[in-house]
Symmetry: C2
Subunit: 242 residues, 2 copies
């Protein structure tokens, strides 16, 4: 009897997954774009200063005892880009991608234009949605974070980081686009290098910032679709193009 | 002697204004667009619920004693769109433009694409920057507001309202664009009608929202340039266009 109950549960799960997949495909199939459904990563133990600590060796974050930041730090060493995991890993740029894939099972997508579909936007802060994006011969990391900068007022922050040096990052422009309910919001900027730390980009607010009500307007059934495009930089002629 | 001192002061003022004007022209002349330098409007007496009171007749704002909102309210009556002035005026849609021009000296600009140059962004909240924009046979009101939704954290909110009915407003799309320092932020939406109240649009956050650090990145010498374009609405095909 238990076996049949379990089977029935599994079938229900499959139907649900199939429905979710169909829904995602239905929404974006018209554009013929690659859609990646990204599930959230939630952790009660939040260590926002992990990366700052790695950069300055004077961070006040709660670091695991085996995280030897007191030692002289190699500036080319990147701490793990999943701060919510409180992962003590550090490594050189060349091995960041394999660490993120193997240890944290972060998906990697190919293509110049993709759609990032973040599910369960209602989950409490802090929550991260992360994917890697392989494009133009480089790997980028898209981080969407729900965080309470002001207590009781969660906001969403989205940014793109190049898994490379700041000089390499200057060669690219990324675009994040939200489009729903007769509203469109576009953010274009030069990606930061993962050496610069995602936490400081978000705390500076130098990224796409959404308050909860705007995130709800752009969401469909608790999922937020963000169109992503990466191009090689042209010279920004700020004034002439306005 | 006093006369000469005053003359000297006036000459200095003229030089300063000429410099400001030249600076604005220099920045945008390449695009051949109309630039409107908009000075802020600051008031210590802030009555954010003025409009809500006008809509519901149950507002709790500090209203002047001669503001008879207890009476049955004509839904087509628009309270004055300059809440910071605490102006008790109310009138029908047809006379809103002349009231704003004559009583509050709000500029009106012609053209499908203009640049709104808000000066003195550093002024403390609450502060408003307002212009009217005449385009496609209608008048629109652009409101940029600096407000502290969360105490100690001022934010900037920009929205466009049609001086017309909600049905008329549905025929248009407005775009606000910031472009500087290798960053670009675009907001596109259907304008709201002035009958709907600018305060509620801003408190809902259903507009372009900028935190202070992002506003600084987009500013030049304390002035923020916002490119404005208005078009007649096409059917928004949210998914296909992403």
């Amino acid at each position: 009897m238990l076996f049949f109950t379990q089977c029935f549960g599994a079938v229900l799960d499959l139907i649900h997954l199939r429905f979710q997949h169909y829904k995602a495909k239905r929404v974006f199939s018209a554009a013929g774009q690659l859609v990646c459904v990204v599930n959230p990563t939630h952790s009660l133990k939040y260590a926002p200063t992990l990366c700052a600590a790695a950069q300055t060796s004077t961070g006040q974050g709660i670091l695991p005892p085996y995280h030897h930041h007191e030692a002289v730090h190699d500036p080319q060493l990147v701490p793990c880009m999943c701060p919510l995991f409180s992962c003590p890993w550090e490594g050189h740029l060349e091995v960041v991608v394999s660490h993120l894939r193997q240890t944290h099972h972060i998906n990697i997508l190919q293509g110049a234009e993709i759609v990032f579909l973040a599910t369960d936007m209602h989950l409490p802060a802090p929550t991260d949605w992360i994917i890697m994006h392989s494009c133009l011969g480089h790997q980028f990391l898209l981080v969407l974070r729900k965080q309470e900068k002001y207590e009781g007022h969660p906001q969403f922050f989205a940014t793109m980081m190049l898994i490379g040096t700041p000089t390499q990052a200057d060669n690219f422009t990324y675009r994040l686009e939200l489009n729903r309910n007769q509203r469109r919001l576009k953010w274009e900027a030069t990606p930061r290098s993962v050496l610069e730390c995602v936490d400081s980009v978000i705390s500076d607010g130098d990224c796409l910032v959404l308050n909860t009500s705007l995130a709800q307007l752009f969401s469909d059934n608790g999922s937020l679709a963000i169109g992503i495009a990466i191009t090689t930089s042209k010279v920004h002629n700020s004034e002439a193009e306005m």
